[in-house]
């Protein structure tokens, strides 16, 4: 019997290695798998490269992991936001490497990784300093920047429901980067609000089919703090 449901955060994060590239879902606090992210502190992996839209806020979740000194580099579109104090401190102190990627390019680089596409060309960023050092080719009279696929060793996603085959649904704008990241990592771990029996989630309503998911863990949490 296939059973991807694990009983604890520790079990969900077993085997994560130092130096891993970790994709973390969420847009701000919504859809962000904070329990799994904080679980990495206990788990102990260090020298991590984190891929996320934002660079954490307050002193929870990603900010807490960064504060614990586990993150070497962050790849994101919007590091500065209300409450991104830990990021600001570490970045100013030179303790954190930063790669800024336009948000759509960030999503597409992971989509490409999940779909077996090595690289692609996009007009986004052409002629800007984010294109410096990158190959540029003209298509239909317009310069396009070459961007590489971005693959994770680990993806941490937050979903609304999950079943033992790893099928997932998301809630409202909590979907955001989660389904894309789920496709783009060697090991995909989902924290869910509800475990459903196999067949209970209507097939038409499954957002991420279980093929992309390795482990599912239920966490007790309320609505995202906004």
């Amino acid at each position: 019997m296939i059973n991807k449901i694990v009983q604890s955060i520790a079990e969900a994060l077993q085997g994560v290695k130092d130096g891993s590239t970790v994709l973390m879902g969420g847009f701000g606090a919504v859809g962000q798998p904070d329990e799994l992210i904080e679980g990495l502190i206990e788990q102990g992996a260090k020298d991590l490269t984190v891929v996320a839209n934002n660079a954490g806020a307050g002193r929870v979740g990603l900010a807490k992991l960064m504060e614990a000194g586990r993150v070497r580099k962050i790849i994101c579109s919007f590091p500065r936001s209300a409450g991104s104090v830990v990021f600001e401190e570490l970045y100013r102190a030179g303790k954190l490497e930063l790669e800024i990627v336009p948000q759509g390019t960030l999503a597409e680089r992971m989509r490409a990784a999940g779909a077996g596409i090595a690289a692609f060309y996009t007009p986004t960023g052409a002629g800007t300093k984010l294109a410096q050092g990158k190959e540029v080719r003209e298509f239909n009279g317009r310069p396009h920047v070459m961007e590489y696929a971005l693959k994770g060793d680990l993806a941490l996603v937050e979903a609304w429901e999950g079943d033992r085959w790893g099928n997932l649904t998301y809630r409202e704008s909590g979907r955001n980067f989660n389904p894309v990241m789920a496709t783009a990592a060697t090991l995909t771990v989902a924290q869910v609000h509800h475990i459903r029996e196999l067949g209970e989630i209507a097939p038409d309503n499954i957002h991420t089919p279980g093929i992309f998911v390795n482990r599912v863990v239920r966490v007790q949490r309320g609505a995202p703090w906004v």
Binding site: F78, E88, G104, E172
Partner: protein, 213 residues
């Protein structure tokens, strides 16, 4: 006179026809939504995976799962939908969004826009979806003050700040005027606030203003 922020937003809204898919940036662009009459169906897109976004909820009706690109609580109109980030940016990058309205630090007469970083050595810039929107939307309109707080022109011959995208701005709404950006012609004045002459507007502008007259 000058237009205030609310009037600038209302002036932009006036030009948005029924049926357009529109993405509004943070700041004055967000206020544009409040000035589209309810009976005119304009579908708002939010980069974090929403089409058919509605106004902010009443304080006791906040849904923590439903936020806009600025992470503020919003609502969903009947007919609205949710989708993931790659689909959301396929809408933007694939030319499916009819209009994007953004704020800016500078707009150049060739349509270049600078709106994401204020200097080359900005320590930790944040680009978000600005470059995707600027490069991918069918139309890009900018709404911004005509000059900086200390009177420096923001409509210029070429941008001094780091670019967001090249040659993409089609129209600029300021507190003083509505100005089109026309390939080969540069800035073309469409409308000036009452009481201000073209010469006075030109004096506050860092590039040549043309007129259709």
């Amino acid at each position: 006179m000058t237009w205030n922020r609310t009037q600038m937003a209302a002036r932009v809204a006036q030009d948005i026809p029924e049926g357009w898919f529109v993405n509004l940036g943070i700041g004055i662009p967000t206020m544009v939504a409040d000035h589209v009459p309810a009976e005119r169906e304009v579908i708002l897109h939010s980069e974090n995976g929403i089409l058919g976004m509605g106004p902010a909820p009443a304080p006791d009706k906040v849904n923590a799962w439903l936020v806009n690109a600025g992470k503020q609580p919003v609502t969903l109109r009947p007919g609205g939908s949710f989708f993931h980030h790659a689909d959301s940016f396929a809408m933007i990058r694939g030319g499916h969004i009819d209009l994007c309205v953004l704020g800016a630090f500078e707009v150049a007469e060739n349509g270049d826009i600078a709106n994401w970083a204020t200097s080359e050595n900005d320590t930790a810039p944040a680009v978000g979806g600005a470059m995707d929107l600027a490069a991918g939307a069918k139309r890009l309109w900018v709404v911004m003050e005509h000059t900086t707080k200390d009177g420096k022109p923001k409509l210029v011959e070429s941008c001094g700040y780091p670019l967001t995208a090249m040659g993409v701005v089609q129209r600029v709404y300021t507190n003083l005027a509505v100005v089109d950006v026309v390939p080969g012609r540069g800035f073309v004045v469409k409308e000036i606030v009452p009481g201000l002459s073209l010469a006075e507007l030109q004096a506050k502008t860092g590039a040549k203003l043309n007129t259709d007259a």
